[in-house]
Point group: C2
Chain length 441, copies 2
Amino acid sequence: MYFSKSFIPILKNNPTEATIKSHQLMLRVGMIKQSSAGIYSWLPLGFKVMKKIERIVREEQDRIGAQEILMPTIQSSEIWKESGRYEDYGEEMLRIKDRQGREILYGPTNEELITDIFRSSIKSYKSLPQLLYHIQWKFRDELRPRFGIMRCREFYMKDAYSFDINDDEAIYSYNKFFLSYLRTFKRLDLSAIPMSADTGPIGGNLSHEFVILADTGESKIYTDKRIFEVQSDKAILNKENLNDLRNKFDKYYAVTDEKFNKKDFDEKVPEEFRLSTKGIEVGHIFYFGDKYSKPMNASVDYQGKKEFVKMGSYGVGVSRLVGAIIEAKYDNKNEIMKWPISVAPFDCGILPLINKNDTKNLDKAVKISNLLKKNGLDVLIDDTEENFSSKIKKFNLLGIPFQIMIGNKNEGDIFEFREIGIESKNISINEIVEIIKKKKV
Amino acid sequence: MYFSKSFIPILKNNPTEATIKSHQLMLRVGMIKQSSAGIYSWLPLGFKVMKKIERIVREEQDRIGAQEILMPTIQSSEIWKESGRYEDYGEEMLRIKDRQGREILYGPTNEELITDIFRSSIKSYKSLPQLLYHIQWKFRDELRPRFGIMRCREFYMKDAYSFDINDDEAIYSYNKFFLSYLRTFKRLDLSAIPMSADTGPIGGNLSHEFVILADTGESKIYTDKRIFEVQSDKAILNKENLNDLRNKFDKYYAVTDEKFNKKDFDEKVPEEFRLSTKGIEVGHIFYFGDKYSKPMNASVDYQGKKEFVKMGSYGVGVSRLVGAIIEAKYDNKNEIMKWPISVAPFDCGILPLINKNDTKNLDKAVKISNLLKKNGLDVLIDDTEENFSSKIKKFNLLGIPFQIMIGNKNEGDIFEFREIGIESKNISINEIVEIIKKKKV
């Protein structure tokens, strides 16, 4: 892809309306464009990152045996009246009347709709457990949308739901998602802590928030530093093993301010391990038993009688993660962003120095680009006539993790090559290909 | 995947509320579930088909150099007032007031929003052409939604937009999409005719509808049969070549009833080539010049003055295509569906005969399934205790193109194998793998 033909509208300066890093950067490099208050369009650069995050989220849902479906954005008010949440939900729910005067709404979450789908589809306990998920746009009519896509109105979310015959099985399902979230955030190169959390309007009595550390986070968090050392790599999909895994995390104090209790914190956490800082919520899981299945009559036949299914729900903010990764990775002072290669919009940038009427370096760039493409790498060539220093400055903001410089002094197959944030070196193009490919695996 | 654990809720009989084939079949095999009038949830079977269609549509957009973005579902009324369509659009537009009383709407189409994005991003003619597309949910508040997902309210659509400096370039962009649509429908194994069409509320004076033949179609069509013989395989992305391609189609009479003129039809089409039948619209492309760019002031600098860009728009109904393929392929009388392998929910079904306490055939099924998976094939094992004839009946409806039967009389590696709709034969499992893989390429 040539930069001049790409739809990446870059701003010269940080937009003044943005106050946090992710919002500034996303507007500056044209990842998003605001269309109205709290509502954004995703331009190619932002779209590519979000799609790669979505793919990782999807793969980790599939890996624990969840099945993907897709519920609509618009829901009927009827099912919300059945569960009793229609009145409770408040003004954040976007309530709509259609042309026939029927009450409909833009779904802020899907507990009711999935329960409705379940109850009309599954009759026997033999079909349990069922883990279903979808990745769909949601709408919450925030009074004061802010921080770009971090607290916006229309947002892209993965929400999953589990259905089991009893508490014991339901906790097993809960723990599967617990594991899948640890795996997901790890692949995004984020260090996310699972914290005991309040259940809020979703309900239930067991809940974890997954929070990443960031100075600009909206949640205050209090945690025992040792929680960062807990390993989850060897976990397997087995009841006992997953229980152990969760216990390993749960034994460390880690809460957001809603659950914070100073006395507990001081008692349970030795002083040297206490950490109180800010974080960003990137996932939230809930176990709420029959809170929805009972009023909505979602049951299965079990040993001759009706049993209300036990449910949990599991959310990851897919669009929010784009911003969260920036908050975690962007070096604002030096204006350097480096996307984890798993979600980078391109694998490598090629920056040829181009003078009018001399296409020598551009020709070289195209040749290198073809070689990289043959190796399965996605490349952006800066074919503008800017000088090196403005090209590098621009590419440092784009966050493509690798850069190849093509100046007038190149000799043979040796080029200046840089992994963003690390000093450049002159190496052969074949070595470059090997380095990037190795990183990408 | 085991059938007993899958979320594929099958109905015993055709649902009475459905009157056309696709609606009946999709409800019957649990591809979709209605959530409210004209609004559906996509269950795993339907979801998989739709995602595969989406992927083909995406690949063919990328292939002509279009860049993918994602615009939100909710739009501000402001831009629609700028273009003058806010009042015109009528009651099919779902108009909403948010909690602050602002007029917003659920986008039925995106000409205004994309024009707004373009005008704030692109300043120079050097960045043209720009071909942008997105695949997003739309809403049209149909007075009488019907025929399942064929005429529903919330639907999934790919819409693309082109921006060029003058008519000549703009027609080139138009023709690129013309080609990409021919390629898309071909990969879906559909024979779609490009027909001269009215432009309706989108505007402009050049437009083609892509229509597939189906008795249940809502459009009456009149065409010269020779249009089916036109070849497009060798077309390349070159101005002249694409002009020739379009001329080859345009020289044959092919219109929907809105443009039908009996005198023309009789004059231009020799009697033996006349075909008047019904069809389903699966794509629609428009060229409308500066209809939106002028009122919305979307211009670029060109030779020292402002030039309004010339625009076109290009839609494919992704969710509708699921239904359209069923209308084209489903043999209602014999209750046999066969998905094109490019979009089939699974590549192969495995149907073991299972008696209580005897897992021999199920074990064989799992072994075969592992072999097929190793070969990159996606498999559904029917692990229920139903007899052969009900399993086959069910799988004929699911439409998975291949079936392997495992009965008690199997010898060694030889199994009964059937491509749906064709007589079965007893062949070795290795031959089976080769046949499916060959078909899948």
